[in-house]
């Protein structure tokens, strides 16, 4: 018998699989086709203070081994999330859920976390620092160690739940940003978010995405993600949620060997809605193949 159990910031997980924010809605679409309680947890749709329609369409461009998205954080706003989405989530998912929050100012992050903090089902906050800071000249919070640390400090002050920071890979030194977040009190690091990309249509000779650029994800980005998880694992003492192009049990194991305590699956959910349960079902076979008894034991094993 092998064990898939792992833990994240003191919360036990039946397995390391966590569908990534933005690829899993609030869970109930997937609950129509499988029991989503087989998952370790999931990170719900990025939530902001105010409702957002997001970016103009087309928002999706297919690429080789991945896709570019430019959804732009479409969500009904934190109040509607609490009123309409979380009650539906509660009916189909009975484990702690990861609340993914975004903001365009430090105050917006704080507001959203404060509002969600009293929701008992939220196990962790996953703070997405890839959004532009409207008071900081539009630069993403996640591209500056100081700005990322300020978000973490401010959010930590209003919640006792674990705060995991989701880092952008579009930076020169991911380690410096991860360290700054740890020093500011972060309980975990989640990486990677999407890589900035572009696809040009040869017929129209213009970018496919209405906003021209978008976030590239899918199996093509996995080596970048594994490398960054590995680097950050060497630099911090808080747990890491690894993700980026994961689509198989082998990928999960690789991500954990690099240093991930839990593993996110993103784009794969969009091309195969059964991707996560298939990986969970396949994990024991692949673990046995590589002589792994407890998944927990291999975290950071590549170092």
């Amino acid at each position: 018998m092998v064990s898939l159990k792992t833990s994240l910031c003191g919360i036990e997980l039946d397995n390391p699989l966590i569908p990534a924010s933005g690829t899993f809605g609030f869970g109930y679409e997937f609950a129509e086709i499988y029991d989503i309680n087989v998952l370790g947890s999931f990170s719900f749709k990025g939530t902001t203070k105010d409702p957002r329609f997001g970016n103009p369409t087309p928002r999706i461009a297919e690429c080789k081994k991945g896709l570019i998205n430019s959804v732009g954080l479409q969500n009904p706003g934190v109040h509607k999330v609490i009123e309409n989405e979380l009650p539906k989530l509660k009916k189909c998912f009975f484990k702690p859920v990861m609340a993914n929050v975004s903001g365009f100012s430090v105050d917006e992050y704080v507001y959203t976390v404060k509002m969600l903090d009293s929701e008992p089902q939220i196990g962790w906050f996953e703070v997405n620092v890839s959004c532009p800071n409207v008071h900081g000249g539009g630069m993403s919070f996640g591209t500056s160690p100081e700005a990322a640390a300020e978000v973490v400090r401010s959010v930590k002050a209003v919640t006792n739940k674990p705060v995991i920071v989701k880092l952008s890979p579009n930076v020169t030194d991911i380690v410096a940003i991860a360290r700054a977040c740890e020093e500011a009190g972060a309980d975990g690091i989640s990486l990677i978010n999407t890589l900035l990309g572009m696809k040009i249509d040869l017929k129209t000779k213009k970018p496919v995405i209405a906003n021209k650029m978008g976030g590239f994800s899918g199996p093509a980005i996995k080596p970048v993600a594994v490398r960054m998880v590995y680097q950050v694992y060497e630099a911090v003492n808080i747990p890491i949620v690894g993700g980026g192009g994961v689509e198989s049990a082998e990928d999960v194991i690789e991500m954990m060997l690099a240093g991930a305590s839990a593993v996110q699956v993103g784009a794969a959910n969009l091309v195969d809605p059964m991707a996560c349960p298939k990986i969970i079902e396949d994990l024991p076979r692949v673990m046995e193949k590589y002589g792994i008894k407890n998944l927990k034991d291999i975290i950071g094993g590549a170092h």
Binding site: F24, F30, F53, T57, R59, L67, V208, A267, L270, M274
Partner: protein, 242 residues
């Protein structure tokens, strides 16, 4: 929604750049006006294709070759297995049709009108059908619609066949109680502006997942934001913002 394996029974060219693929598999989840999302080897995202006809275990799809994915589809042989996500989208509401529904399809928007026409005629309704194409070499399914007993008018933009002009140029030739339409957006807009009754519009958009998870295909409506893949592809005239 179900993710199922279908086998290709036949796959043939029926007009310029236009192919008809008949698939065999479990069609129990498929409704009129919905679409399926097909996994094609070598491509990351699936290809959403509207349902043209569903009968027993036979699912007929008509698709246009518009890019590399549909090019690969066009060369698939009988017997090939395909992974198909079925039961996607809301589909048409047939209850609002009245006695004399009008079905307006343009180009790749013609196929969903066929299953709709089958179901409406089965209910004893007498649909009128206007099919719009650019040119005679693109015309397909005129006889199939006629065989259902529908009153069929074909319009071609270049006048090479039927009425010269757009589908809306044939509006004065029909008397209708309600309409259903699918086609390119400029055509849908023209139908929106020229139609005298209420009706339902089927939309197309670049999709990520096809089942409501990614928010890739959202649009604004008078009743709030909707996802073309999950809350659509069919929207009612009254909710569309143009």
């Amino acid at each position: 929604m179900k993710d199922l394996i279908f086998n290709i029974k036949s796959n043939k060219k029926i007009a310029k750049n236009t192919y008809e693929m008949v698939l065999l598999g479990d069609c129990t989840d498929i409704k009129c006006g919905q679409f399926v999302n097909i996994k094609i080897e070598g491509f990351y995202l699936r290809r959403p294709i509207s349902v043209c006809c569903v009968e027993g275990e036979e699912l007929t799809l008509i698709y246009k070759v518009v890019g590399e994915g549909t090019e690969v589809m066009a060369n698939m042989e009988s017997g090939t297995s395909l992974l198909v996500l079925t039961g996607l989208g809301n589909g048409y509401d047939l209850n609002k049709s009245g006695d004399k529904p009008l079905l307006i399809g343009g180009g790749a928007g013609v196929p969903p009108m066929y299953q709709l026409c089958r179901e409406l005629t089965a209910q004893g309704k007498t649909p009128s059908v206007i099919l719009g194409f650019n040119s005679y070499d693109e015309v397909f399914y005129e006889n199939e619609f006629k065989a259902l007993g529908a009153n069929v008018i074909v319009a071609t933009a270049d006048g090479s066949y039927g009425v010269k002009g757009f589908v809306t140029d044939a509006f004065n030739m029909v008397d209708y109680t309600y309409f259903y339409t699918c086609g390119p957006e400029p055509m849908l807009k023209a139908v929106y502006n020229s139609s005298v009754t209420s009706g339902q519009f089927s939309f197309e958009e670049r999709m990520g997942c096809g089942f409501g998870a990614c928010m890739g295909c959202s649009c604004k409506t008078k009743y709030g934001n909707k996802r073309i893949c999950k809350d659509g592809p069919v929207l009612e005239k009254e909710e569309i913002i143009w």
